[in-house]
Symmetry: C2
Subunit: 127 residues, 2 copies
């Protein structure tokens, strides 16, 4: 099967990884990891015009890495870890493939499918 027109999940990964490939956007994610924040609050640490930062936020939102909502004149941004998980999952999958441990991966995939909310310490085996 040569390169067909891209499954939906693949496009999602495209967007997520692309979003994470920018240091500003990763910094924003780091900040949001500590809790929600307004746009101007997020903008403060950066020597960057507002519209530029806004664009970064758009990229993050379109990739579903964050969710935003406007209340009054303030837009509040919040991290949405699902997309992050998708990326992490893909990475873990490659690692597992590489280590020839498809058995465990399948079990993991199954557990993912069940949408179970149990969350455990994740651990990427190092090198």
């Amino acid at each position: 099967m040569p390169n067909q027109s891209q499954s939906a999940t693949n496009q999602a990964l495209d967007r997520v990884f692309h979003a994470l490939s920018d240091p500003t956007r990763r910094a924003i994610m780091s900040r949001l990891g500590q809790g929600p924040a307004s746009v101007s609050e997020l903008a403060k640490p950066f020597a960057m015009a507002m519209p530029s930062l806004l664009q970064h936020l758009q990229v993050l939102e379109e990739s579903r890495l964050i969710r935003t909502a406007k209340v009054g004149r303030v837009r509040t941004c919040e991290m949405q870890p699902v997309a992050l998980d998708a990326a992490g999952h893909w990475i873990a999958e490659q690692r597992a493939l590489w280590e020839g441990r498809l058995d465990r991966m399948e079990a993991y995939a199954k557990s993912l499918h069940k949408q179970e909310k149990k969350r455990d310490t994740k651990r990427f085996g190092k090198r």
Copy 2:
């Protein structure tokens, strides 16, 4: 601290995430997860001119996601999971931050540093 001129690790993450943001490159990584392959072997599944694919390989190599070596007229490519781990580590860090579980993260980071080869089932908590 505002956006200083980019630490080396950050630039590495830029490159890795950017490399992974392309479906062709991810497909290549998936293929290499199953074992090393030559350039033309990698090219086969894609309806793409060689130079284009070559460029993808260059991106992957510069991001250190793969390593390549030429023997005779054949260049063989191999996955190099360290960069993948770096990306996975960053993601896990954000998750952990979000979940307010820095304690465990520190333990994980320390274990990473020790370069230990013990590998365990990784598990991203879903949702």
